[in-house]
């Protein structure tokens, strides 16, 4: 197929892409919204939303999701920014960056599964602290273990955009800052940090939104409790088969996501994300 005119060429580009847009972007969102707003007979109803907002459990769960996602993002950011900054000063920085990315190629489930072994009551961590004379702790199925594993999974996705935005900063600016009398710390705070803001925002997006909807880690590490919106949706779709309520929670999750997007909008370009 050899398009001749410009119009034909445009069609050639756009037809498969448009089919994708309609079928896999519009349709699923519309269907989700439709599910949440109808009864099984197809009549309009706000019943599902009423159930959601009247239930203390769901509201608490929503708060929990946001709170955990916030903590995960914060921990990840605090570990990742210095890492990205220091990596950027290494000679073979591209090589070290690849080593940061490499763990993301190991299947997510396998890594999570490793933590089950590490953290279990007779696992390696407990054996280790046992050597220090501390009695075995219940590490698995706690909020801490959930935060630890989630942060572990997300760290590369925070480092990557921050590293990229740091690498894009003209090294001349750091020189100029020193030249004007600023020491390393002042340069970091007044020049490097503001200029790497787009990377930080991209990193927050890449970590916060997936963290809102984690369900696999919650199930395996967090002790199979339904504590986040992600777990609730999975529960309703795949266990209790209450798609309408599941869709309602989904719509609420989307709204939360849009709010985050607006808050971290400006100039975000390269974003990478994690599925989990």
């Amino acid at each position: 197929m050899m398009p001749k005119s410009k119009k034909q060429r445009q069609l050639f580009y756009v037809v498969p892409y448009s089919i994708w847009l309609i079928l896999f972007v519009f349709a699923p969102l519309v269907l989700l919204l439709f599910q949440s707003l109808t009864t099984s007979n197809g009549d309009f109803t706000l019943h599902n939303y009423a159930v959601y907002f009247a239930s203390g459990t769901y509201l608490k769960m929503t708060f929990n999701s946001v709170w955990y996602a916030f903590l995960i993002t914060l921990i990840t950011l605090l570990i990742s920014y210095p890492t990205a900054y220091l990596l950027n000063q290494l000679k073979q920085k591209q090589f070290w960056l690849l080593l940061v990315i490499l763990p993301t190629w190991i299947n997510l489930l396998l890594k999570t599964y490793a933590f089950v072994g590490l953290l279990s009551k007779t696992g390696t961590v407990n054996n280790f602290i046992g050597l220090l004379g501390i009695a075995p702790q219940q590490l698995l199925f706690s909020d801490w273990s959930f935060l630890l594993v989630a942060a572990y999974i997300e760290i590369p996705f925070m480092i990557l955009p921050i590293f990229n935005s740091l690498a894009e900063i003209n090294p001349r600016l750091e020189q100029a800052s020193h030249d004007l009398g600023a020491n390393k710390w002042q340069t970091l705070r007044r020049v490097i940090l503001p200029l790497s803001m787009p990377g930080i925002k991209a990193g927050i997006q890449a970590v916060f939104i997936p963290s809102l909807s984690l369900f696999m880690i919650t199930r395996l590490i967090g002790g199979n409790r339904v504590i986040t919106l992600g777990t609730a949706i999975e529960e309703h779709f795949l266990v209790t088969q209450n798609w309408r309520l599941g869709s309602t929670i989904g719509v609420i999750l989307i709204v939360a996501m849009v709010i985050i997007m607006i808050l971290t909008r400006d100039r975000v370009r390269k974003s990478s994300r994690k599925r989990g």
């Binding site: 003209n170 020189q175 600023a182």
Partner: protein, 371 residues
């Protein structure tokens, strides 16, 4: 060069190597306070490296850097009382014009009011008073250049380092900025160290020029010295236009080239020493065949506004660049003439010190002759 006061910056046998690459070889230099210095040379000659060593961005492999008599090899960049105008300006894109200029003063911990005064003063110095609130991206190249100068000067440096700051500007703007920079330097009375590869720029602005090539200072002197008495082939070729020919100093005041003997003003060389002869195009005149010291054939000419640039070929096949006021005919045979003092002799492998010694001897000779 004799000066009793301590030089503001001094290099003592400074060298810099990366692995086996010798970037700078045994550099010695002394800069006096309050003067406009230029480091001139082609790219890769080591001139920017010297600037980065002065500012502290680069550490040397051996030798000492002194500031007002004190060794500053290990003083970090931010502690040196010098500021730099970078080639690509290095303006902070996250700050507007005001904040860029205010950066240095605010790091120093000046009060809000002092900072505002300083920035206002600097912006008016570079004629950008109206632009304080502009973003950097909204400025033209020339305006960015001015912000960079204002930002560097806002720190009240003792030395301002300028790394090819005008290279990105167009011809007219460059001329304008040359004039303004010189004026700013004279008004503030601080030392400027200016790096450029543009010999015209160097000649126009400087009190003193260092010509660099291959990590070595080839020659230093006032613009007039450098232009009139280039020490070697490189300097003669790099500064201005030159006709450079092989010759033989037959005796004092007698040089042989293009198969003829010419009277000149150089002396003190071995009899029949092989030398290079430099004649500047503007020192040559075209005349009738009878009046000419040489006979040449006009090969090409182009109009340059205030003169004609003529290429002529003598009977030995040497090519001559001549700047003439009158138009010539291509193919015409004409005479070429010049005065004895326009013939400049360069000895092979003569160092700067040898050269200075020879120059003094020549001056003594002249004095003796007068007596």
């Amino acid at each position: 060069m004799t000066n009793t006061s301590t030089p503001i910056i001094e290099f003592k046998n400074v060298g810099l190597s990366y692995d086996d690459d010798e970037i700078l070889k045994n550099i010695d230099l002394e800069l006096e306070a309050g003067k406009f210095y230029t480091l001139l040379g082609p790219s890769g000659s080591g001139k920017t490296t010297i600037l980065n060593i002065i500012s502290g961005q680069l550490k040397v492999t051996h030798g000492d850097i002194l500031f007002e008599g004190n060794v500053i090899n290990d003083v970090p960049v931010e502690k040196r009382r010098m500021n730099t105008v970078f080639q690509d300006y290095g303006l902070f894109p996250n700050m507007n014009v005001f904040d860029n200029v205010a950066f240095g003063p605010s790091i120093k911990g000046l009060s809000k009011k002092e900072i505002k005064n300083k920035v206002t003063e600097m912006l008016s110095l570079v004629k950008l008073s109206q632009y304080a609130d502009r973003e950097i991206t909204e400025l033209s190249g020339g305006q960015r250049q001015r912000v960079a100068i204002a930002r560097a000067l806002a720190n009240d440096p003792d030395v301002l380092l300028l790394d090819e700051p005008l290279s990105a500007l167009d011809y007219k703007l460059r001329k304008e900025m040359q004039y303004e920079l010189r004026e700013i330097q004279q008004r503030l009375g601080i030392t400027f160290v200016f790096v450029t590869h543009d010999q015209e720029e160097a000649l126009a602005m400087s009190d003193w020029i260092y010509v660099m090539n291959d990590g070595v200072i080839q020659q230093n002197g006032s613009p007039e010295d450098i232009y009139d008495e280039p020490i070697n082939h490189f300097v003669a070729d790099f500064i201005g236009e030159s006709n450079i020919l092989d010759g033989i100093m037959k005796a004092d005041y007698l040089v042989h080239f293009t198969g003829k003997d010419f009277e000149n003003v150089d002396a003190g060389m071995r009899p029949n020493e092989r030398v290079e002869v430099v004649l500047r195009p503007e020192d040559l005149d075209l005349t009738t065949i009878d009046n000419g010291k040489l006979v040449v054939t006009i090969d090409d000419q182009s109009f340059r506004g205030d003169y004609y640039e003529i290429t002529a070929i003598d009977d030995d096949g040497n090519e001559w660049q001549v700047q003439a006021t009158n138009k010539s005919k291509i193919g015409e045979r004409v005479g070429l003439t010049f005065d004895p003092e326009d013939i400049h002799i360069m000895r092979f492998n003569e160092s700067e010190n040898d050269f200075d010694a020879r120059l003094e001897r020549y001056e003594d000779d002249v004095d003796d002759a007068k007596k």
